[in-house]
């Protein structure tokens, strides 16, 4: 008898781009049909659709919340729909809710879709959204803080406490862009940057420079998930979720005692690894969704890959980028991929599944058996850490 658990058996994704001609619904239908076709199942076997909330797109949010997807696609076996919003961590919650549906035995296959188009929104509206939705409208927003400004504050303190230099942090972006340059799904495909490019890019909010901040883009992806038991029928296509842990810190950045989320990364990863029966040293790939370079460093510290304060050095030594002995964030993070709102987490799961399937092309991590992945929502209100593997345990 296989333990109850969740496995991903079908995936699809469209390239991250800025292209308002590509509509939200076209992206959505392409990825939903793509994931079902990739799984190779009949569409009417989908028992539930659990959508990732399309942030800042109220009309699409209504469509996805109120049942349009199974209706438009003719998913005649669909018994339930839901939507999950945890900002950047929305996909994580979709997976957890899907896990409950599957564990209940009442649903065999769940479709988890995401679509986002930001290129048709005025830049001012997007700056406003990211300055108000995840930040405090009484005690932060009136002071001219942007999302970049908020992350600049944390990065400055990270450098002060750890001694990490601007060059070391810039090397994170160089490596993330190097991964993105190898990924046909990245908006930066074929476009590497040098340390000088990053250091010489315009200053946005000290110490963050333009190339270290996120380019808002459009994208979409979808997964079909099922039980471990059913996943056996899918052979090498199936990727298994082996463990999960989450820690919440605070909604408002200034109130966060765990300023760099290091303790939160530590505890959530320990929970996830304990459930999987594995150690951090069993992981072949570390995927960190923090959207800003310091998170790529503090997560490695929290995971226990290195001592506290040494994360930036690993990146500067080239160990986390292509060719390194500690491959991290082959998805490129929002910095190296383009930021698709709540979709960044979807792209992180899809990239992890590709790596574990051996389908990651030029970015393929050799012998990738196990991967650890952390997503976060809001202004890094939480860390949601999962362990995935090629086989159930």
């Amino acid at each position: 008898m296989t333990k109850p658990g969740l496995a991903v058996v079908g995936i699809a994704e469209v390239p991250t781009r800025r292209d308002p001609e590509r509509t939200r619904w076209n992206i959505l239908l392409d990825v939903c049909m793509g994931a079902i076709n990739d799984a190779g199942i009949d569409k009417n076997l989908i028992g539930a659709v659990i959508s990732n909330n399309p942030m800042a797109q109220p009309s699409m949010q209504n469509d996805m919340s109120l049942g349009k997807i199974p209706e438009v696609m003719g998913l005649k076996g669909c018994r339930d729909i839901a939507i999950c919003n945890a900002g950047g961590a929305s996909t994580t919650n979709c997976l957890r809710l899907a896990e409950q549906h599957i564990a209940s035995g009442q649903v065999d296959f769940v479709l988890i879709p995401h679509t986002t188009v930001q290129s048709d929104m005025p830049p001012q509206d997007l700056i406003n959204f990211f300055a108000t939705a995840p930040l405090d409208k009484q005690f932060e927003y009136p002071y001219g803080v942007s999302f970049n400004g908020s992350m600049g504050l944390i990065t400055q303190r990270y450098m002060y406490e750890t001694g990490a230099t601007e060059e070391e942090l810039a090397s994170v972006t160089v490596a993330l862009r190097a991964w993105g340059a190898l990924d046909p799904l990245s908006i930066f495909y074929g476009k590497t940057v040098s340390l000088e490019d990053v250091m010489n890019s315009r200053m946005i909010s000290t110490p963050l420079k333009a190339k270290e901040c996120n380019l808002l883009a459009d994208g979409g992806g979808a997964m079909v998930v099922t039980s471990w038991e059913k996943a056996k029928e899918f052979g090498d296509k199936a990727v298994y979720k082996l463990g999960h842990g989450t820690r919440f810190m605070s909604a408002t950045p200034m109130l966060r005692e765990d300023v760099f989320h290091r303790q939160s990364y530590r505890e959530s990863s320990q929970d996830a690894l304990a459930q999987a029966g594995l150690s951090i040293h069993d992981m072949d790939l570390r995927q960190i969704y923090g959207a800003y370079p310091y998170t790529q460093c503090s997560a490695l510290e929290g995971y226990g890959v290195c001592e506290d304060g040494h994360g930036a050095k690993l990146w500067a030594e080239g160990r986390c980028g292509p060719g390194g002995d500690l491959p991290c964030t082959t998805m490129g993070d929002a910095t190296g991929r383009g930021h698709t709102g709540s979709g960044v987490s979807m792209a992180f799961y899809l990239d992890t599944i590709r790596q574990l399937r051996g389908e990651a092309g030029e970015r393929q991590v050799s012998n990738c058996e196990h991967a650890i992945l952390t997503t976060s929502g809001g202004s890094v209100m939480n860390t949601c850490t999962s362990v995935f593997g090629r086989a159930p345990r």
Binding site: P142, S146, G152
Partner: protein
């Protein structure tokens, strides 16, 4: 003063006293009389013990810079005239951390750990924002 175009703080009933205070040039910190905790930002209930027996203490107005970031671009149009904006988190001896702007100084003069003091600037007839400047 009625022409202030930037966002005003979204005041809640239980934070009104804070903003009355800044108008009187007093920096007030919410205080729980039941468990003796200083609270920021102001709430209806004490987040430690859920008591509604909440009062206010007047802060000294001194603080230390915990971190800062100088913003040169990427803000909404209404803030562009203020650039560069020095964002800061400051630690009050009363045990709370606030987000603010540092004023009356140049970006290159700012350091983590520097001592600052509150300066009150009215932005409308009703609202006065607390900023901080080097001591």
């Amino acid at each position: 003063m009625s022409e202030y175009k930037k966002p005003l703080p979204e005041i809640q009933p239980y934070s009104q006293r804070f903003w009355d205070g800044t108008r009187e040039h007093k920096l007030l910190v919410q205080h729980c009389n039941a468990c003796d905790t200083n609270i920021f930002y102001p709430r209806r209930d004490c987040p430690e013990c859920w008591s509604q027996d909440l009062g206010w203490i007047e802060a000294s107005g001194r603080a230390t810079v915990y971190t800062y970031s100088v913003t040169y671009e990427g803000v909404e149009e209404k803030f562009v005239e203020d650039l560069p904006i020095i964002l800061a988190w400051i630690d009050l001896p009363e045990g709370i951390r606030m987000h603010t702007n540092l004023v009356e100084c140049e970006p290159e003069d700012v350091q983590i750990g520097m001592e600052v003091e509150v300066v009150f600037r009215p932005i409308t007839d009703d609202i006065t924002l607390p900023f901080f400047r080097p001591v």
